[in-house]
């Protein structure tokens, strides 16, 4: 059999589902399953990461519990998905971070924010830390720009390296696509599918969360979260270009591009995670991977913290609270970056890779 009990169960379910196929119109998982008659570990991890947890197949299944066939695809694939994150984590020595993820993330976040506050306090006069600073370069009175860029650049590059190594392991494990190879078209298709969350849609009617009514709003909140994150990232990128290319230093006036992008993104990063958290609290326990509660909530909290401190910083940047808030915001962002490869953030990366693989298979089959 397989390496783990979860994969054994996933294999059992895919065997049941492959002899039924009623759900093939609901999402990508079942058509991908139908291309196979037997399932390797890699196949099951691929299918697990292809699943968007919309819940429709559970509500629609005539064999879901209490039926003796006990078919619960969303939950089993959620557990398999989470276990796959740990299995592919780089370096492997840190894969344990997934097991008690909520604790790890909150510790890292707390330590990181404390370090920035203490660092600011140690390196700056009390009058500077709590002083009122305005005009270009105000932030850099507390921390020199080059130091900031070097620290966050290093954290960001580490996160990218760890993610690339992890996804490489996943990509190798799921094996060559059934009869195809990677190409630009598949990547473009996957970007569209991910960008619109095409498979978080219950096959068209909507997703299921707390009951058998397709009224779930997770898709909307996920869009707010994801695009909020993207806008914030864009704000930082534009600001970096301003700094190095135009010689213009932050903070920028409210109407300037980095602030507009950051404000819109920040709003998304506050509403989105709150909405997702509320949905998580209401979710039918039958669908929930309770073991991974900490991981889901931890990442959610980090995004919310980033958005919230950023928005507060914007509002209060011309007061004496700017110094401490900047420390908190930088601490939150730093913690977000370095925990990215070891928390729920990776779901987007693996799912995107799975969507690329699925697009390849579809194009080959067509």
């Amino acid at each position: 059999m397989h390496g783990t009990r979860t994969l054994d169960e996933a294999d059992r379910l895919m065997t049941v589902c492959n002899s039924c196929r009623y759900c093939e119109g609901l999402c990508a998982v079942f058509p991908a399953m139908e291309m196979r008659r037997a399932f390797s570990d890699g196949d099951l991890n691929y299918l697990a990461n292809l699943c968007h947890a919309c819940g429709a197949c559970y509500v629609d299944c005539q064999f879901s519990p209490p039926h003796e066939f006990n078919v619960n695809v969303p939950k089993t694939l959620a557990v398999a998905r989470a276990e796959s994150y740990a299995a592919y984590a780089w370096p492997q020595a840190l894969s344990g971070a997934f097991a008690r993820n909520g604790l790890v993330i909150s510790m890292v976040a707390a330590l990181s924010m404390a370090a920035f506050i203490l660092g600011f306090a140690a390196l700056n006069e009390r009058g500077v830390l709590f002083g009122v600073h305005t005009g270009p370069g105000a932030f850099y009175k507390l921390m020199p720009h080059n130091a900031m860029a070097a620290l966050f650049g290093a954290a960001f590059l580490y996160a990218v390296l760890a993610l690339v190594m992890s996804v490489r392991a996943f990509w190798r494990d799921i094996g060559p696509p059934i009869g195809g190879r990677a190409d630009g078209g598949s990547i473009f298709q996957a970007m569209r599918d991910a960008g619109e969350l095409r498979y978080l849609h219950g096959g068209g009617v909507g997703c299921y969360n707390e009951d058998d009514k397709p009224t779930d709003r997770r898709k909307l909140f996920h869009h707010l979260t994801f695009y909020g994150f993207v806008l914030c990232f864009a704000a930082t990128s534009v600001a970096t270009l301003y700094h190095y290319l135009l010689g213009r230093e932050a903070p920028y006036p409210w109407w300037d591009l980095p602030v507009l992008l950051g404000t819109l993104g920040g709003i998304g990063l506050v509403i989105g995670p709150v909405g997702l958290f509320a949905a998580k609290m209401r979710r039918d326990p039958a669908l929930l991977d309770e073991q991974r509660y900490g991981m889901d909530v931890g990442f959610n909290a980090m995004l919310l913290l980033t958005g919230l401190t950023g928005m507060l910083l914007l509002v209060l940047r011309e007061t004496g609270a700017m110094g401490p808030l900047l420390a908190l915001h930088l601490g939150a962002v730093f913690a977000l970056f370095i925990t990215m490869p070891y928390g729920k953030f990776v779901h987007g990366i693996y799912r995107f890779a799975a969507l690329v693989r699925y697009a390849q298979e579809r194009r080959t089959a067509a």
Binding site: N18, Y22, G203
Partner: protein
Amino acid sequence: MGSKYDVLVIGGGNAALCAAISARRGGASVLVLEGAPKFYRGGNTRHTRNMRCAHDAATEILTGPYTEEEFWEDLLRVTGGQTDEVLARHMIRESKDILNWIVEQGVRWQPSLGGTLSLGRTNSFFLGGGRAMLNALYLTAERLGVDVAYDAEVTDLAIEDGMFLAARLKRPINGETEIRATSLVAAAGGFEANIEWLKQYWGEAADNFLIRGTPYNRGSILKMLLDKGVQEVGDPTQCHAVAIDARAPKFDGGIITRHDSVVFGIVVNRHSQRFYDEGEDIWPKRYAIWGRLVAAQPDQIAYIIFDSTVVTSFMPTLFAPIAGQTIAELAGKLELDPAALEKTITEFNAAVRHGTFDHTILDDCVTEGITPPKTHWARRIETPPYLAYPVRPGITFTYLGTRVNKEARMLMADGKPSANMFAAGEIMAGNVLGKGYAAGMGMTIGSVFGRIAGREAAKHARN
């Protein structure tokens, strides 16, 4: 639940919900009594996946037209003429509009599923399958204000002179109550899960039958109606049965326990003897006879035997085949006499005449000199591992029902229409389907007559 309703619907499947929705849309107050718990609601509808409706042109999900005349010819062929032509033609005509009406009730279509290409033109598939279809109908019914009770067993019906008065309701928590209603729609299915009733016709053999649907299809409403003077229709001794995996659960194994591999091998009984031409016709036209064939064998068990060369020729199965490196080893695992099985396979292999194998047409791979012959797709079974699926009769539905007219109104034994009793779905399918079956017809009967019954019941109640 109020004390009196315009329309009482007994049953909780496709026909019952179509009746409830249609009656509610007709302005009636409606109560649905489903005998099963919520999870098992819907009777056989849980396990369905498509509906056969006539249509004059291709649609987004149907590959071409399927005219009323063609539908009628198909029905005539599968029933061997055992159908009520007026009723059947009426149903077929109404089925055209059902394609749209059912979508208005929240049901979604999708193109035919993988492995069912032969139905792509005639049958519309439910996105997400039968339970998804049911969920949509229940949501719509509840949104419209239909009351629904689960675990709601009807223990008696008060009927006088062909007029329904009240139903006796028994529920685990609320105890016994009397439900009065102006009209009754009986849509409570057949008696396929009632082993004692099946035994009346099949004897002890019925103990070895597996029931493909839930244990709640006991036919108690059908029995009450017939006992109280409603005219019966359909052969009481007949049921629709297919060969399903012998390892399937006693009840509710649904579609996934079926086997499509008969044409790729041979089928033997407990004495290792073949008993029917496995290659008689294209599989979709013959799969429904194998339940009855196996039911006639000793201990109601048989074994589909094939070799490793054909494993990927049919849909993947829920239960893996039983394997042996030699025929004798396989026989041992199946608890068959090894010598007898070897003899049967040796004789079969010797009788195979070389031809060009093609399972999509009636090919020229035949046997010569054995009885029964295998008249198509005959190939030697000679490449180990040798494989087998044990199969038993899987009972899908029964044909006995209540006679109705075009208004879905029940007819009493004396031929007079009932004043206020209507029937829809499997409980009256025998009017249209005297014997045989073609995929998706049960759902057509359910939706068409459900919609009519609900409309007529509401009309009666509001007059």
